[in-house]
Amino acid sequence: MSEMKVLYFAWLRKKTGTGQETIHPPAEVATLGGLIDWLKTQSPGHADALADLSMVSFAVNQEYAEVEDPVKSGDEIALFPPVTGG
């Protein structure tokens, strides 16, 4: 079974109600975009957090990624707003 870790930061953490979760998406989830579509079905909070992807940045295994990039079992996925450090 596929197992991935998903991290949420800033307001995505507030909206989803979690900072980190271990998920078991179905085998047909092969891209970041596919994973996000599946995550949106997991709770109203997830659907709300991921409703407007122009407000969300992504990382796979701590590298910036795009929705068309592949994801696989064992990956660490992070979803967060555009960064505001410095």
């Binding site: 930061f9 307001w11 990382a59 701590q62 707003p81 555009p82 960064v83 505001t84 450090g85 410095g86």
Partner: protein
Amino acid sequence: MIRVQRDDFDPAAETNALIGDDHSIGGVVTFTGLVRDLADVGGDGQERINGMTLEHYPGMTEKMLARIEAEALDRWPLNASLIIHRYGDLEPGDRIVFVATASAHRQAAFEANMFLVDWLKTKAPFWKREDAETGAHWVEARSSDDEAAARWTETPSKAAE
């Protein structure tokens, strides 16, 4: 060198330590970012803030800062460089970030310093949450920061993503 820490730092002590006894350094440029007591809100408005919380992505933060620093060392003839970024709860006036670049000549030190600040603002995974008098809110990314970072991408770069 990079450091991500909750604690404050002493810019003068950090600068002296960076220079050490390397007498081939002709100039060191330092940038210290501070928490302002006014936050920009919609349009041209501003409101007073009581403090802010800086959240980050442990692991990826260090990875991105190290990559940005490596890119600067690749582009400019630097003798030494240092990036310190704080996280956690901060008050107006507190130091947030410190970037120091040392080189034989000033131009490399100035340019590399601006590059590092511009790039870390758009690539290092930090998020600011301001505690304003009208309530707390997450700071939104600014397009002006993206534009500032973009001016350094004209040269092909292995760190650009």
